[in-house]
């Protein structure tokens, strides 16, 4: 239906009259403060189990995440054999080191909040993810031109059927201007490379959309080119080198429904051709209060991963990143050094030389974003980078 709506909107746009404006819903004063439980019980031997607890916040609130701290979280098996506590690694994130669990048993999460309220998920079955066949990319010129990344997978036993993916993109990028000099206390010296490099950086971005696919209507359990993300042409991601790590999980039908509603409710709701927001039926409940709303669906199983690298040279030239703006370069004369460099924090780019002097008589500078890539990323090369 979303595609359908898009076409509809296109028809409206063709009359060049449609208009999209920012809309702020009326203020609501009630803070519902529901418990939100996210995570999966990882039964594999290589991945840790991470359960995140948080609270809902008001729509207008500036905080994105309100963690639920100092809770006791444990994994329990239906036969009571397993009862393993998780430790809070950072506020609201509860963690357990990898350990293999019997895939034939059912497991649940039990939570006891700092206030002493007890919550438990339903016992869920373990879904083992098959290996990812392939992660591929394609330059698409139809619609918004961009690099479409997709995933292929299959389960020859035809048991998986419901898939969910998330990913982490990492890319190497360069500053606009190469800075040769660095301010060192109240003087300017040559930059030590590679330690003080602010020209080459890496940035990692996690997926924000829910990516699902079902093969329930297909003869074989084969996923062909399920779209992951489309990177618009001339994006910084394809300036030097790009990598994507795809994580695949297999869901039960109920879990798939949950994720699908979550996706619909947050990614495609409100247009009149979309369905009404549905109630999000999770599988976590307050032990003593069946009417309390708890958000979240706990699943169990394994995760399979696949990483690919794409060099900027591998994609068509017109899809590669081109620096959008030339950065304006100013020359700073010595009597301004104090004001601009030592106190102002500007980064010197190049030296200005005169034939008479081996030392620069002035330095050029430009805006920080043009010269310092660490503003948006890190200059530490990730361990997996090849």
């Amino acid at each position: 239906m979303k595609r359908f709506f898009k076409l509809y909107i296109a028809l409206i746009i063709l009359t060049a009259t449609a208009c999209k404006e920012s809309f702020n819903p009326p203020e609501t004063n009630s803070n519902l403060n529901y418990l939100v439980v996210e995570g999966m019980i990882n039964t594999g031997s290589t991945d840790s189990t991470i359960i995140k607890l948080s609270r809902t916040t008001m729509l207008t609130s500036g905080t994105t995440l309100k963690p639920e701290t100092r809770a006791t979280v444990s994994i329990q098996s239906a036969d009571n054999v397993v009862n393993r506590n998780l430790t809070e690694s950072k506020p609201g994130t509860y963690f357990s080191a990898p350990f293999a669990l019997d895939g034939n048993k059912k497991y649940r999460i039990r939570i006891r909040t700092a206030q002493g309220k007890e919550y438990a998920s339903d016992y869920v079955e373990v879904k083992v993810s098959p290996n990812i066949d392939n992660v591929s990319f394609e330059a698409q010129r139809v619609g918004v031109p961009g690099i479409q990344l997709s995933v292929d997978t299959r389960d020859n036993s035809n048991n998986s059927r419901y898939y969910k993916w998330d990913y982490v993109e990492t890319y190497q990028y360069k500053s606009n201007n190469f800075s040769t000099y660095i301010v060192d206390r109240n003087s300017i010296r040559f930059r030590n490379l590679p330690q003080e490099d602010i020209f080459n950086c890496w940035r990692s971005v996690g997926s924000t959309n829910v990516i699902l696919a079902s093969t329930a209507k297909l003869a074989n359990d084969v996923v062909n080119k399920a779209p992951l993300v489309k990177v618009p042409a001339s994006n910084e991601r394809f300036g030097v080198r790009y990598s994507i790590m795809v994580n695949q999980q297999v869901l039960t039908k109920e879990a798939f429904d949950f994720w699908e509603i979550l996706k619909k409710n947050t990614e495609q709701v409100g247009s009149i051709f979309d369905s009404q927001p549905s109630q999000l039926q999770g599988n976590v409940h307050a032990v003593n209060d069946p009417n309390e709303i708890v958000i979240g669906f706990i699943t169990a199983g394994t995760v399979t991963h696949k990483r690919i690298f794409i060099d900027a040279l591998q994609i068509p030239e017109d899809f590669r990143f081109r620096n959008p703006l030339p950065c304006r370069v100013d020359t700073i004369i010595p009597r301004k050094y104090q004001e601009v460099f030592y106190e102002g924090g500007a980064i010197p780019v190049d030296g200005v030389f005169e034939p008479s002097s081996p030392e620069p008589v002035a330095y050029t500078t430009t805006s920080r974003a043009c010269v310092d890539c660490t503003v948006r990323g890190t200059n530490i090369k990730p361990a997996f980078w090849q």
């Binding site: 909107i9 449609a18 208009c19 819903p25 062909n224 990614e267 009404q276 109630q279």
Partner: protein, 926 residues
């Protein structure tokens, strides 16, 4: 010709030019049986030397039955004209002048030449010739075609006159085109009785014997009257002139049959002339948009398919085009209505007192009637707009008996789509529709009407997914008049709606999806005018449904899609109805009807049975039974009551009340706010009960200023049961167990509608204010989950306040301006009340359903209509319409939505027509 001849011969016959010619006094034998004047004259002329002169038109009602042996011509004429106003005179030259009322003096007045010659006595003395019979009881009876306002038409057999009431019936037609005038009123101001013509232009009116003047008024027609002398039951066809608005118009409307007098309430009728005056977004007259200006009609958004009448959902409207059911009444997702404005005659919307002959939907009946083709000459019209063009041709097939009308529309929006940004560059959109209607008069008693409609829409999004949908309708109607008081209409027809979706982009997932619903209809409707107090209508309707809920099949060799088909559904919906319009006293009139409807769900089908008292899920499935072909699986049925009464308080003030119940056996599965062309229909089955509704209403109707201003207030309260809602995350398409995903809901709606309408004068139009509320409540014990904890919540189309102004001002008969203004409360909305962080992004937490509203809606449209010159004799009559839609440019929110973008929740409101949109449309008639 004969008339000229008569004058010429009058001159010749004057004594001044006397020629020698012998009068023939020979005796002749005559034998006339129901002879017309020409037969009568021919026989005498053949036997004598007399030559007859007369005006045939004046003798059209004369029939002579006479047998005489050896009589003089004088005697024959005397006997033949006895008891009538016909006169004769015979000259010495053997010329016979037949006249009506006056006698031609064949000689000059006595003494003119100062002679003493005796003046011939006019031969008009009545004699006692009992054998003369001016009859209208012949089998091959000729119907009087009345065109003149000043002529007295004598109807029926004088000798059969026996006092009491007699019935006059006939057709009212447009004199120029021969098309029937539908809804014309025939009113007798003395007896205060009146009727309106039906869809065939047919009327039947009972009045006392004697002389009457009946007033005839039709929409878009010049008011006229007929002077009649009623002897016994008879026929009178009335031809009306089209109204040509003059610069200074004096309207005599004192005797208009007012809305005050009918028993019908909650009914609106609009003719195409009014529809064309209302500014439409792309300049093309739009039938459905006009419906939206009527009180009690709501829509969830501009340019969306479907409308909501008095709190009913969009699938609760029965939309009929010439009696054929139109399942999707719009093109382009609702931008254009499916009805071709060039061949539509008028529309009627029944909101409250739905006649018993209609049924099958809960909320309303929208009856769109197409014109009949011009029976006299070939004409046509064409219109050109920015996005669409249309053409219509009509004309006689054989003179005066058969005519056709053809209309076609198409779009050429692709050129505009190509201007779009890259994202939509490869999109395509197109539609067309074709209509062909043929009407044939077999004889005075039998008429045949064939009508057909074909529409097709096709959209492609970026050469990926293609959507197509279309209506196919065909019907054949036979109208038979048994006598003046009884006629029947027998209709057979076939209606189909289909849509398909296919996608080829990914060869592994390439698929084609098809849906269609087919219905074969059979209807007989009888109208029986028993006497002035009772008018009976009765009949039988039957619909056989064949519904293919969906089939999905792979496309191409690589596709792994497994072909899947939800088994076809069959059902028979039948109804027997009887209604009586009973005028108890002059002031009190009651319309009472009962419709017994029956629904049989038929095999072949497999029906699941679920554990009673538990949520209906596949885990609670007990067993399933397979039924063979045409087996009666489940029968639903019951009486539907249609009651309305009118009491006249004064000449222009009446009060009406009504109660009706309705049943609906077909459901549209749609959990979106607006219905879309790709929503599937579902028949009631053992697990999904029919929808039930009832409504009680009360109205006051008062006219002012000689009935030129009509006002009304109507209030209603309505209940709905078994309306469908859906489980969270329900799959509505290709669901083999759809009953596990639907929930039954009940609803209530109430409101008050105020209407002021000015029907005549330079300024005309209407203004309405509606207060209405609609609530739904999900209390299905088998739901498992309840929306808003089972409390009543406002429906998507609940808009409490709504105001409409539609007006037209005619400066001259070439220039007029129209204004259309709409205000309504914003529709309800489910809003986020909180947010949370999940799966790497902010997610919204929704409120209870429909607890908030989008901003109020306000829009004003304006148009100028320019007619070409009004010379009658020109090849083309052109007209232009210029206008601006949404002249204030208000950004009315069409929808608001919240999406997660780069991890953050952002709210947007989308307006469709956010700027003033100018439009132009060119129309021509030929």
């Amino acid at each position: 010709m004969k008339k000229l001849y008569l004058i010429f011969c009058l001159l010749l016959g004057s004594p001044v030019f006397v020629c020698a010619q012998k009068t023939d006094d020979k005796l002749i034998d005559v034998d006339f049986q129901q002879a017309t004047i020409s037969q009568f004259v021919a026989q005498i002329e053949s036997k004598t030397n007399y030559t007859f002169y007369y005006d045939a038109a004046k003798f059209d009602s004369l029939r002579v039955t006479l047998k005489l042996n050896q009589a003089t011509v004088k005697k024959v004429l005397e006997d033949a004209f006895a008891n009538t106003t016909y006169k004769y005179s015979i000259t010495q030259q053997g010329q016979v002048f037949l006249t009506k009322g006056v006698v031609i003096q064949t000689s000059l007045a006595a003494g003119f030449f100062n002679d003493k010659k005796e003046v011939q006595q006019p031969a008009n003395r009545p004699t006692s010739a009992n054998t003369v019979d001016y009859t209208s009881t012949l089998t091959e009876k000729r119907v009087i075609e009345s065109t003149s306002e000043n002529k007295v038409y004598e109807i029926g057999l004088k000798s059969a006159a026996k006092g009491g009431s007699v019935t006059l019936a006939g057709y009212v037609r447009n004199v120029k085109s021969g098309e029937p005038v539908i809804g014309a009123s025939i009113y007798n101001p003395v007896t205060r009785s009146g009727v309106a013509t039906d869809q065939f232009g047919y009327y039947s009116l009972t009045m006392p014997q004697g002389s009457h003047t009946v007033l005839v008024r039709g929409l878009g027609m010049r008011d006229t009257r007929r002077l009649i002398v009623l002897n016994s039951d008879g026929k009178l066809n009335i031809e009306m002139q089209e109204q040509v608005t003059t610069l200074k118009e004096v309207k005599i409307s004192a005797e208009k049959v007012a809305n005050v007098r009918s028993t019908t309430m909650g009914m609106s009728k609009i003719d195409i002339k009014t529809i064309k005056q209302i500014p439409a977004v792309f300049g093309e007259a739009d039938v459905l948009r006009v419906v939206l200006t009527l009180p009690g009609v709501q829509t969830v958004g501009e340019a969306s398919t479907g409308f909501n009448v008095r709190g009913g959902s969009a699938d609760q409207n029965l939309i009929l085009l010439n009696d054929a059911t139109i399942y999707n009444p719009s093109h382009f997702f609702g931008f254009f209505s499916a009805f071709d404005p060039d061949i539509v005659q008028d529309i009627e919307l029944y909101k409250s007192s739905i006649p018993e002959k209609f049924g099958g939907r809960l909320s309303s009946i929208l009856d769109v009637t197409n014109r009949e083709g011009n029976k006299k000459k070939f004409t046509g019209s064409a219109g050109i707009g920015l996005l669409t063009s249309r053409l219509n041709i009509e004309g006689p097939i054989d003179s005066n008996r058969t005519s056709f009308i053809f209309g076609g529309r198409t779009t050429y929006a692709n050129w505009l789509l190509k201007q779009l940004p890259n994202e939509y560059k490869n999109s395509r959109a197109s539609f067309y529709d074709l209509s062909l209607n043929i009407s044939h008069q077999i004889n005075e008693k039998n008429n045949l009407y064939l009508s057909s409609y074909f529409s097709n829409d096709s959209f492609r999004l970026n050469s990926d997914t293609t959507y197509g949908y279309g209506n196919r309708n065909f019907s054949l109607k036979w109208k038979h008049n048994y006598n003046n008081k009884l006629y029947s209409v027998i209709t057979g027809g076939y209606d189909r709606y289909q849509f398909n979706i296919n996608s080829m982009l990914n060869p592994i997932n390439a698929y084609k999806f098809n849906f269609n619903i087919n219905q074969t209809n059979f209807k007989t409707d009888f109208s029986y005018f028993i006497n002035p107090k009772h008018t009976l209508s009765f009949g039988l309707n039957s619909i056989y449904y064949k519904l293919n809920p969906g089939s999905n099949s792979p496309v191409g060799n690589e596709s792994l899609v497994v072909g899947e088909t939800v088994p076809a559904e069959q059902a028979l919906e039948s109804a027997l109805y009887l209604g009586d319009k009973y005028n108890i006293t002059e002031n009190l009139s009651v319309s009472a009807g009962i419709r017994f409807s029956l629904f049989n769900y038929l095999g072949p089908q497999t029906v699941n049975r679920y554990a009673p008292g538990l949520p209906r899920t596949t885990s609670n499935l007990l067993d399933s039974t397979t039924y063979g072909s045409n087996k009666f699986i489940k029968t639903y049925g019951g009486p539907e009551i249609r009651l309305s009464a009118r009491y006249i308080l004064s000449d222009d003030f009446s009060v009406k009340a009504g109660y009706n119940t309705l049943r609906q056996y077909i459901h549209l599965l749609s959990n979106t706010t607006a219905i879309s062309p790709t929503d599937v229909w579902k028949l009631s089955d053992p697990n999904i009960k029919p929808q039930l509704g009832d409504q009680v209403s009360l109205g006051f109707y008062k006219n002012f200023k000689s009935n030129t201003i009509e006002t009304s207030v109507e209030v209603y309260y309505k209940r709905l049961r078994n309306y469908l809602d859906y489980r969270s995350g329900a799959t509505l398409v290709l669901n083999q167990n759809i009953e596990t995903d639907v929930l039954s809901t009940r609803g209530k709606a109430y409101g008050a509608e105020f209407l002021i309408k000015k029907t005549a004068g330079k300024l005309n139009g209407w203004m309405s204010y509606t207060y209405s509320r609609t609530f739904l409540k999900q209390d299905d014990p088998n739901a498992g989950e309840l929306i808003n904890n089972g409390a009543y919540y406002p429906a998507n189309y609940d808009k409490p306040h709504s105001f409409n102004l539609t007006g037209n001002y005619r400066f001259t008969h070439r220039y007029s301006v129209s204004l259309n203004s709409v205000y309504s409360t914003g529709r309800p909305l489910t809003l986020p009340v909180g947010k949370f962080y999940y799966a790497g992004a902010e997610r919204v937490l929704y409120s209870d359903r429909n607890q908030y509203r989008i901003p109020d809606f306000f829009r004003t449209d304006f148009s100028v209509n320019i007619e070409g010159n009004h010379k009658l004799k020109q090849r083309f009559h052109n007209s232009w319409t210029f206008g601006i839609y949404n002249i204030t440019g208000r950004k009315n929110a069409y929808s608001t939505y919240f999406i997660q973008e780069a991890g953050r929740i952002n709210g947007y409101s989308l307006s469709i027509f956010a700027k003033p949109i100018p439009f132009v449309n060119f129309n021509t008639r030929f």
